[in-house]
Point group: C2
Chain length 310, copies 2
């Protein structure tokens, strides 16, 4: 079974390393030339929960995948705004039974992926594994997961089983989600509050909990997300989700969320359009207003412009 | 005619100085002990549009106004959150015909003032004079106004005429507002966008114009304010107000608005509850939602808490 990791930055190379160490035939693919060059030349140096590993995993830049290469399972791990380009690059390497796995943050990636494979071959999910990239070829993977996965349509269930087995053998701690859409929307609540607010207020997750007013911001964003989630048949209780989020912020207190790291530390564009922006857009499609989520997305974009983020 | 300036910080002492220089019997009053002590000891040092003045204007801290003192005209120039306390301190110094002048930023200060004098004796307005306080006893006044004033009720017109004459003699450039409520709401649009956004994004007014997304934030806040303004019979066109605001930001480009100076430079609490917060609250009283203004108010409060502002 040939596995490709399409998007082998921080989290992608982490998953790739875990799979490779179990003996899977893994190929890393990434659009960022320095990362591809470094791994091709000197392998992947990865710290997995404090343990150092040096792995010679095959790697291609997305523009140089061998013409005849076909993959059976493709894990998508790009930044949300790079997904379209990556799908274009890998489309000729998909065969009739290729399974596409997407546990990326954000809403409705499956709409894009469904242009390339039918819905039954898309395994969608969310994960709480976290990762970072120190320099090209040097990354780390932290946590214990889980990876929650599920099928978009009933016929996709066997493919979920296949991916579950792969992830389980690789100790990536898979769970079969009892309600895939609910798992996705709960993760949107996490990212739509913590990522956006820590980036705007330039603070740690614990700082949100310390402020009565920041907690009101968390609540208001959550309330709108919960309303829009109903269009996917997901019925969350805003108070319950809010309490879950506050509890989560306590647990990961000193951490700066990934969006903060992208924009404030590294001056990179954020995924805000796929989180709060996507909530507002999906809401608008169904006549459910989410003005605060749209405002938050524009606020983060204003900060990107202010900082000339790329 | 005895005139008191109730709230003699930056702008109040500026108005006081202009009146005093025309020979008016002016008394400065302020709640901040260092300011009162400095002016009592060594007079007011004030820079008026680049000219230095040293004026021995009588000054009292608000707790030590002589018991029998009565004032004919009282200009209110406190921070919005200090207005209630100041009114308590000066109430025994108001006589049956005292005129109260309020050109402070923010909505509905007249509701508080009307607990002390009837509406006909309140002269309400807005001003574009700007001022600053370098240290106790040392301030500056900049600009050329105008001060737009008007009556809340028809019977108040003679009092507007009286205040107009005083301001005109003192070269404070008064205008009689053709539509007082409209003037107030236009100023709310200015403060609700420029002050709030420059404080959240920590930027200059010109920076708002440079960003497509910051301009969207300006537009959205304005749109909600215009909707709420209808409860006061004020009908503004959101596009026209938006163009006026963008034009204004261009003109005063390098300037940091007063709220930015309060919170970011001086770690002081802001007047946000009397601007965006007041818009949301007044809207709620009349079943007009203004979620973005409420969110902006909570965001500024979260920043106040983060910075332990006082």
């Amino acid at each position: 079974m040939k596995i490709a990791i399409a998007g082998s930055g921080a989290l992608g190379s982490g998953f790739g390393a875990m799979l490779y160490r179990q003996g899977y035939d893994v190929t890393l693919i990434d659009g960022w030339e320095p990362q591809a060059t470094a791994v091709k030349k000197d392998g992947l140096h990865i710290d997995i929960n404090g343990e150092q590993h040096h792995l010679n995993i095959p790697m291609y830049q997305d523009t140089e995948i061998p013409k005849d290469a076909k993959y059976d399972v493709i894990f998508l791990f790009t930044k949300a705004m790079q997904l379209h380009d990556m799908l274009q690059h890998i489309q000729s390497h998909i065969h009739d039974n290729t399974i596409m796995v997407c546990t990326m943050n954000g809403l409705k990636h499956e709409r894009k992926i469904a242009n390339y494979v039918d819905e039954a071959r898309i395994v969608r999910g969310v994960t709480t594994w976290t990762a970072g990239l120190e320099s090209p070829g040097h990354t780390h993977l932290m946590g214990a997961g889980p990876v929650e996965i599920g099928a978009l349509v009933e016929e996709g269930q066997p493919n979920v089983d296949t991916v579950f087995d792969i992830l389980e053998k690789a100790k990536l701690n898979p769970h079969k989600s009892e309600d895939l859409q609910q798992s996705i929307w709960k993760k949107i609540c996490v990212n739509g509050t913590a990522n956006a607010l820590c980036t705007i207020l330039e603070c740690r997750l614990s700082n949100l909990n310390e402020s009565d007013y920041a907690r009101k911001l968390v609540y208001k964003i959550t309330q709108e997300i919960v309303q829009v989630a109903t269009v996917d048949g997901v019925h969350l209780n805003a108070d319950e989700v809010y309490n879950y989020l506050i509890d989560l912020n306590d647990k990961v207190g000193p951490h700066f969320p990934s969006m903060y790291q992208d924009l404030i530390n590294n001056n990179r564009l954020t995924e805000i359009d796929y989180i709060n922006g996507a909530v507002a857009k999906l809401g608008a499609e169904h006549h459910i207003e989410a003005p605060v989520n749209q405002f938050v997305a524009n606020m983060v974009h204003a900060k990107e412009e202010q900082r000339h983020a790329k």
